[in-house]
Point group: C3
Chain length 668, copies 3
């Protein structure tokens, strides 16, 4: 039922927010606009169960029927992102604690601790109730669990139920306190524990907590989310056979391991807000001029990185044991901005054409469905200033007009057949970001490589390092700080038949977050062909020459081992003369954070494996799917793309130069 | 007794801070300097009642007598801004809670919750005691309640007594939970309440609380202040007949509805610290170069806006039912900076002439009395680095010399007869600032219009939108976000005989803080002649062309209705071609935050209603009172004012150009 | 045993962090590198006493023996900076509270309240146990108490044990509440106390607390640290005769009175991290270009100020009654950075030569021993990214190579014979920084004078104002805000035979933190020859002319008294024409914060007393010890030092110009 041969469009709608007389007409208008799916009810618990145990399904029955009658297919949600007031006041122990130790209060959303046994029981109960009611309704094609896990820093709670559950989780992981103390290096500052109950969350410490403590707390919290959702998924599988189950993940969310949490889902979805993303979620260090240039469109690579990440979560499911079915190519955009947002520091209107550009880009990166948020702008509460396809007054807004003009049938579904993989791992993210040491954050470093690849016109799959890499000729691992022994063996095997590129801080940490006793790259030095001699972070303005480029923020210097060869050396600073980038067989490691150098090396390597890299103009991007090539111009101004570039990115015969208006796309 | 025919001068003095042998000589020196009134005792509770129930009036008796003997008239205060330690330690439940949930401790001032029933009883008791003792003393001419309500963010407490009182206040306002849930739109995120006791202050929520919740909490907190003061006023009226009762309000204080709180007062006073105001209270976005240019004088419009606001509070009393008598023209400056302050990020000395300039300006804006803070600089505690008319060593400081050279008899009292009104409303302020959405704050938007008017040489009354507007030909409402139905009817009637100018975000919210279901301007579209199509906020550097001007920070685009005509349209950006400013009969609405455009439109409209707008030089301002015109130069440098400008602002016959030294004034 | 005739080198090592098989070989390598001392065990409590009362000395016995066998001399530590988990969980009342009232949790270090009677008992107990075990071990030459008192803002706790002890401390100091209320000026805002138990720490107040309250809380907290350590020292003296006792103080630590806390120590040591210091501890206002220029070396004056301060702590002991013995010249660097640190915002590698430069500088400023931190880089926990002499993989790192090339025997011990003293006082620091009023902080103002002196090639002792000043011809007191009567008398006597220079805000506060009732300089005006008329702080960009210079941040204007003469007057601003710098006999007071003016006056005065000031090139510094002169180049680039400059700083006969490579030194 959800298998499609071309891009389908959808919408998020909230029947509980409007009078009942609107439901049928909204559904009809949605069909007329070409929308197929409607997501609803993710925040409606207080209407489903106004008082403890008193369910009221009548309104939702009628709402589902209204959309069904107009031919819309319904995606329902478990409403657990917003437990109602009566439940919270009866069980305040459901509430989470922030890093400052304060209770995070009722009055907005996501006010619960994933580890709360009380809340887990209520989560199971309400999931059972809604799934029992609608699980086999003919209009219901699938389910979304909860809403945006981790949003508003809710991935971790630092007290209450989580604090209570942490010691047992550790006991299960380590068996003995000796093992835990050794793994964390607790001898360091006399931090050794002599009883499990002595261990608490790693917050409010006098100075920084032990990073190993932080790393395991991140793993623990991630496991709570996984288990919390798994309970819901089990209920939904039982009571709603034949329907898909998904979750709408967040932009660059780092609070849990998405590979683990996505287990058991049919496919992943995510919520795409390009302009808010650039203002609010861009990695630290993103230049103000970049934020200004792309203020009305968002940055292409920030958006598409998330597409590539969430599209490929499904690939990880192959490894982890997928339970459900999937879209043929794997993901939806569950919420797609279609006008201004309201939650960023600044909330400009999208440029003319941006809604189409985002939709086309989503398709080109593998989306089967793009669902606009939301049908009608909310007239109440926290999101009064957020746009929808309809204005407050129910007239079609700018985004509506762009959707109306868009022929979604021109976008065939089918595979995104990237030959380049970028490896991503949440454990590396956690340990790197806990101790950036003044260098770039995990996302900043990762994006530097991703942007270099996209600037060369290459398609990229974002994968977990344990995923199957058979289809790739070039694998880029920008920030794999944590490489356990078993993973290294896999990478070595993978590297026999394809090129690998690694970034700084690769292989710096053991599985428990320590440094290797034999230094960076640990037992893996033969693979990388180097040992690291030194590393450093650099204040803004302090740069180091590396070949013809300038490294900033981070450098590390290497000594060659075996037959490895230097690609470039440092030309200034304390590391002058040390190796800045090295090649050892198929493994290339770049120790300098120097975007120019990264681009140069990737371009050379891509050409070596018969990809056709080409340096695209600033703000121009391309993506290929199902034999078609989308060319995108994210600049506010018109841009020319040369015939050579078109030729390279389409891999076709002769081509002609192309002129694209500002904020527009072209399908070849 | 307080009726004066020219400006009178006064001082704040603290007999409890100095040895008794100083009292008489200080009073004598004050008289010799030309001062008439002395305010005292607002922080002296620990001396009035050193231990529970043990009053000590002897010292204050002698102090009042000492000033009386030298002919000074005394303004006494209720000392409730500083409950003593014994009271707080006996009743810690008096203390307020901050937004982080922490108790705000004893050890400075304003450490109480207005809603505390325990504190209300002690407030009534100490007010009774001091009023009984001095209420009919011949030297006592009036009373100040408490001190600077709301200072240090004390307008609202987020716990304790306020939290306990909030549900009952809501129950009284809404009657039923269904009504409250509907008014707040609590269905939005399942925030519906099923019991009054479930409702708490809107702090520590996981993400932003419901703005309707915030709005009602602001109303609730304001009502607590009103009731707290009313209790004191009732006692003072009973025990001190024939004396005025006032309160010294704060610079740009936003924590309560001054119109409500001023009810029952004879007139308003406020505390004027121009240099500290510019450093500390200037609206966000005030340019650093403006802060640098006016570092030693403060900004003329920030100061005079407060004059115009507090002068006109008394007009609102006509509407609300004034209890007391008033100065003929309505307000005092209860505290006037006369040297450096100590509480801003930087505390420069005022320029030569600034103390006279501030005093003259206060008169020109309607002050009957200017009271300098303070007689002698404090030699102890938090304000050791604050200046007074005397230095620590009791020698006359720079401000003293300026006061000595000033002939206050040249400033006749009489009316400020503005023909332009600027409408201001605290409910609009609260809801707008809760969701600026990245645009200008309420004060920033309001000041943009106020500055435009003052730059044109126009006098302005700052009024509540419900006030009588009969005397005005031009009414400017920069940010009336919240316009209930009954208010619109009044505005429509008012607009039959005068021009109105509205700013962006006008009429965007309902009385409970929702958006109108029929969009911006709600049911009022016929009056404005437009519907709003879109709005947006812009990051610094992102501007939009509008006519010959650049809009920044905020734009909204309109569609014309009926016979409305466009004054200008957007020339770039997504709103290109949409209406940026519109005229519908006498109602002009400006949707673009573009100071140049605002000035141009106001100048045109002012000329249309036979005002004589003229573009004054940067930093030059004029004000008219009682037939005289004050011309002020706030620049550090000398400035020329053209004959044409003089002619326009004096509305007199031929005039000559005028040269004003830096930081000086001229009376015509 | 610790008396040396030339600079000795040492290292910090952590046998508990590495396998036992490393101990002997590490010790051997240390000897081979030329190291003499090894510090150990400051964080090893959880290994000394794994469970309550169960001591395990076996490992430490073997470790001490291993180092002893290789000829290393051992400095042992009391492990009280890191009480183990079992102790904290059994007695959570040991934990301190931060200024926000939160408990500062277990999980890093320094998690205790110095005032805790429970912790004092455990501190005494563990000190007794380790001293009993190793006090007379032949390898043990001395002791370090605890580790870095005050680090991570742990000097003061704002709750718990400290809050409980504060009232008694006050009662002992003031005797009566009347005396306390008078001393603090509590009448100011009705803050008078009527019971000792009403008094709490000065945090969480509604607005700023009474600065007198803050000042006494700082004194109280300092006394707690003094008493806490004294208890340990008494045990060590009893059980470890003939060994020295010291403490490793922190960079610019301000949380306690080092003169008081150093009482009873043999000599002071401190922990020197030049690059981290510049990034993290540089006074507010340090220019970004300075931080960039010296990013890889640290700033010479920040480093050497700490040398000069901690060297001279021992002089204060002469006054206070020294208990122990001392190095001949007084101090060690207990921890010396020898590669990148990990705790600053940015952590670059030191420049080539920096480790030698720092070592040579330490010697030239009087260090007898320089101890590198640490032997091998930690492979676990919070400091994984910090360097050591060995890398993680146990290979020699860059710093090791520099140490290996350094011949420490070329640096003879002997006196630093400065003829210039800079006066420093923690009480002045506390009261000034509590109310900077927008002007420079205490350290910023102090460093401005120190840098001026160092730029002139002068050696400086940093002394307490009560110290013996017999050997000095020029005494500079940059920020003696608090000058009690008895101290003034001493200064007057001192000034009979030497020149004094005072900075702004001198003599502004009484002993209890009030202002003098007769104004700035209080009863000391005759000595200074001026009264202060006005002071002000200036926002960035607002400057005032003073002679040929520009004053920024702070000015104060004076009126001459008696025979005093003006050195310069203000040329602009409200203080135009007032005296900016004055000379009264041997006392010079500079009221303008104008580095150019400060340098000019100091140069003139230094010449007057037959010092030989010379303006050294930017980044070049000199120091003299034991008849030798060290010339240092802290610039990244080569620099020329003229023959005249060499002549002046060596006070020798004819000299030749000298060329120094970047980051290098030369010994004459």
């Amino acid at each position: 039922m959800t298998q499609t041969d071309h891009l389908f469009l959808a919408v998020c709608d909230y029947p509980e927010h409007v009078p009942e007389d609107r439901w049928r007409s909204y559904a009809r208008q949605q069909r007329e606009l070409g929308l197929t799916f409607v997501r609803m009810a993710e925040f409606a618990w207080s209407r489903m169960e106004p008082r403890p145990g008193e369910y009221d399904w009548a309104w939702l029955d009628r709402a589902v029927e209204a959309y069904h009658a107009e031919g819309m297919r319904v995606v329902l949600c478990t409403p657990t992102a917003t437990p109602p007031a009566w439940l919270i006041r009866a069980h305040p122990e459901i509430l989470a604690h922030d890093t400052q130790g304060r209770v995070r209060e009722f009055g907005s959303r996501r006010h619960y601790d994933f580890a709360s046994p009380v809340y887990r029981e209520h989560s199971r109960r309400i999931t059972w109730a809604i799934a029992e009611r609608y699980g086999q309704h003919p209009a219901v094609v699938g389910w979304q669990t909860d809403n945006e896990f981790g949003c508003h820093n809710t991935g971790r709670s630092y007290g209450g139920a989580s604090a209570a559950a942490f010691p047992d989780w550790l006991a299960a992981r380590y068996g003995t306190l000796d093992a835990l103390n050794a793994a964390w290096g607790n001898v360091f500052w006399s931090m050794e524990y002599s009883g499990w109950a002595q261990i608490r969350p790693p917050n409010l410490t006098v100075t920084a907590p032990n990073p190993s403590h932080v790393l395991d707390y991140a793993r623990f919290a991630s496991a709570q989310i996984r288990d919390f959702q798994a309970q819901q998924v089990a209920v939904l599988r039982e009571l709603s056979p034949g329907r898909f189950v998904t979750h709408n993940f967040m932009i660059f969310e780092s609070g849990f391991d998405h590979y683990e949490v996505a287990r058991g889902l049919d496919f992943a979805t995510w919520d795409n807000y390009p302009t808010g993303m650039l203002e609010f979620f861009a990695p630290p260090g993103t230049a103000e001029e970049v934020k200004l240039r792309y203020a009305r469109s968002g940055h292409p690579d920030l958006v598409s990185f998330n597409h590539d990440l969430y599209r490929c979560l499904v690939k990880a499911q192959d490894r982890l044991g997928r339970e459900g079915r999937s879209s043929p190519n794997g993901f939806w955009v569950m919420e797609q901005q279609c006008g201004q947002v309201n939650w960023a520091p600044h909330n400009p209107l999208p440029a003319d054409g941006a809604v189409q550009l985002w939709t086309a880009q989503a398709w080109a990166h593998g989306a089967d469905v793009v669902s606009y948020f939301r049908w009608r702008a909310a007239t109440m509460a926290q999101e009064v200033m957020h746009s929808g396809l309809l204005r407050h007054d129910e007239t079609p807004d700018r985004g509506h007009a762009e959707v109306q003009r868009l022929d979604a049938t021109q976008f065939p579904t089918g595979n995104v057949s990237a030959r380049v993989a970028l490896l991503h791992d949440y454990e590396s993210l956690w340990i790197l970001d806990e101790q950036t040491n003044g260098g770039p954050t995990y996302w900043a470093q990762t994006l530097a490589y991703y942007t270099a690849l996209r600037s060369l016109g290459l398609d990229v799959d974002v994968l977990h390092p344990d995923d199957d890499l058979a289809q790739y000729v070039l694998v880029v691992a920008p920030a794999l700080t944590l490489i356990p022994e078993r993973r290294l063996q896999k990478l070595q095997a993978d590297a026999e038949e394809r090129l690998f590129v690694f970034g700084p801080r690769t292989g710096f940490r053991t599985e428990s977050g320590c440094a290797y006793k034999n230094g960076q790259f640990g037992h893996h030095k033969d693979f990388f062909g180097v040992r690291c001699l030194n590393f450093e972070s650099l204040r803004p303005g302090l740069t180091v020459r590396v070949g013809d480029h300038q490294a900033a923020e981070w450098t590390e210097g290497y000594e060659l081992l075996g037959n490895a060869t230097a690609l470039t050396t440092y030309g200034s600073g304390p590391l002058r003369g040390q190796v800045a980038a090295v090649r050892n067989g198929n493994a290339v490691t770049i120790g300098a954070h120097a975007p120019g150098l990264i681009g140069e090396i990737l371009q050379t390597l891509a050409a070596e494996v018969d990809l056709t890299p080409v340096l695209l103009p600033e703000g121009v991007r391309s993506s290929r799917r199902a034999g078609r090539t989308l060319i995108e111009n994210w600049n506010p101004e018109e841009v020319q793309v040369s015939a050579d570039a078109i030729h390279a990115i389409t891999s076709s015969g002769s081509s002609e130069a192309l002129t694209l208006a500002g904020t527009s796309w072209h399908l070849l």
